[in-house]
């Protein structure tokens, strides 16, 4: 389960709330291709369906992303994970954690949920092999205590895949 992200979260700040409202409106007017936001009344957690792009290893497969926003979004990155079963991918762990630099060290407040989604889809689309990261078992075991991927010290897999 994804209870890893159920750690006590502070309510969104005013700035975060405003910004997310705007992102939501923008998403409704102009959703990124291949994604569907499941409408809920919870602004702080978005559940998004991802549809694998045609002509890629993940064509016709549907996965679910769970995006949780911290109090000081967008000054802090959102926590983005796949709801298991996560796609088989060299940078995606079986517990749904995603090894993608923009979600951690390389986050910038000029990014949006939409731009993050597009990066994740492009990461999926460029994959040439369906397999778990080499250290999957060790990593997932280490996360058993419900650790958030944002607490992981990521050493990023190469950026080419």
């Amino acid at each position: 389960m994804t209870s890893s992200s159920a750690s006590p979260r502070k309510a969104l700040s005013k700035i975060a709330c405003n910004r997310l409202q705007k992102e939501l409106v923008e998403w409704q007017v102009n959703p990124p291709a291949g994604f569907k936001h499941r409408v809920t009344d919870n602004l702080q957690r978005w559940i998004i369906d991802v549809i694998g792009a045609a002509g890629t290893l993940y064509a016709n497969e549907t996965y679910q992303l769970q995006v949780d926003f911290p109090e000081h979004y967008p000054m802090e990155a959102p926590q983005v994970i796949f709801v298991p079963p996560a796609p088989l991918h060299p940078h995606i762990y079986s517990n749904g954690h995603i090894c993608l630099d923009i979600l951690y060290d390389s986050w910038s407040p000029a990014m949006t949920v939409s731009s993050v989604c597009i990066s994740i889809l492009s990461m999926l689309s460029s994959s040439t092999v369906k397999q778990r990261p080499e250290d999957n078992d060790r990593y997932v075991k280490n996360c058993k205590n419900g650790r958030s991927p944002k607490e992981t010290r990521w050493w990023f897999h190469d950026d080419k895949v």
């Binding site: 700035i15 405003n18 910004r19 923008e26 007017v29 910038s108 407040p109």
Partner: protein, 282 residues
């Protein structure tokens, strides 16, 4: 005599203190009595009036808020609180022009003296809300008047056409096309007239890439990108010393106010009052 004045002032301060204690316990009636005593003793002390105004404000007694705030402003023209409360009181009484004028003064005063405080944001929110309400009122009046005029123009056009063309003769096809054209054109002219009043999206070039909101105080970086100043400073402090879009190294000393965009955002808001509705909460 000198001792008399001093003891009167001292007595007034004691009353003020009693008022503050009562106010904290939310005993507004007692607080008002105490401040009234202080005012009677020393009517030239602005803070006695503004404290009493705050009590009336809590009681939503807008008329008395207005009176007390006007006294404060006479004694101390730079009181942001008095202008803020006065502005809100006037708005409550639907004096939009007057309320906006006071809130604008409060905003300018607070931004020049205490730009990083919470008060700036509060005053701005109140001002934006007031401007939005004002727009809502005036735009619905405009829409109503235009609709009325349009109806009259249409009836006049029908009448005019029937007078010009009592019976169909040769070329009646062409003339009926012309008639349809005239109605379409009339429609177009009137919808054009309502365009500015129709809520839509603020153009991207007037919005910050971080707040996604229309610019208030834009600054430009050496990369050429413009951001809302307060939020960019927060980014530099909390996230890192880089331009959020280009990721080039960026120091806060390199930021330059973007006056052209600031002017453009202001002009846009003037023409499109609906864009003041930045905060979904109101």
């Amino acid at each position: 005599m000198a001792t008399d004045t001093a003891s009167v002032a001292k007595q007034a301060e004691i009353s003020r203190h009693n008022g503050n204690v009562a106010f904290k316990k939310e005993r507004l009636g007692a607080a008002i009595d105490a401040y009234t005593e202080a005012i009677t003793l020393c009517p030239d002390v602005a803070v006695y009036w503004s404290n009493r105004a705050l009590c009336y404000f809590k009681r939503k007694d807008w008329e008395r808020v207005e009176q007390d705030c006007r006294n404060v402003i006479q004694l101390d023209g730079s009181s942001v609180k008095a202008r803020y409360m006065l502005g809100l009181a006037l708005l409550e009484r639907e004096d939009f022009a007057g309320g906006i004028k006071e809130l604008e003064k409060a905003f300018d005063l607070e931004r020049s003296t205490n730009p990083d405080g919470d008060m700036v944001e509060d005053v701005w929110q109140a001002l934006a809300k007031a401007k939005y309400l004002e727009w809502e009122l005036s735009s619905s009046k405009r829409a109503w008047r235009l609709q009325k005029l349009k109806d009259e123009c249409e009836s006049a056009l029908i009448l005019h056409q029937s007078l010009q063309d009592p019976q169909s003769e040769d070329g009646s096809q062409a003339s009926s096309d012309d008639k349809v054209d005239q109605f379409e054109l009339l429609n177009e002219v009137f919808s054009k007239a309502l365009e500015d009043d129709t809520p839509s999206e603020v153009p991207d070039y007037l919005c910050c890439n971080i707040t996604l909101d229309i610019f208030q105080d834009p600054v430009i970086t050496p990369s050429g990108f413009t951001y809302e100043k307060a939020v960019l400073l927060e980014h530099l402090e909390k996230v890192g010393n880089f331009d959020p879009i280009t990721r080039q190294p960026l120091d806060k000393d390199e930021l330059i106010p973007n006056l052209a965009i600031k002017g453009a955002a202001r002009a846009f808001l003037k023409e499109h009052g609906w864009a003041y509705k930045t905060n979904p909460a109101f």
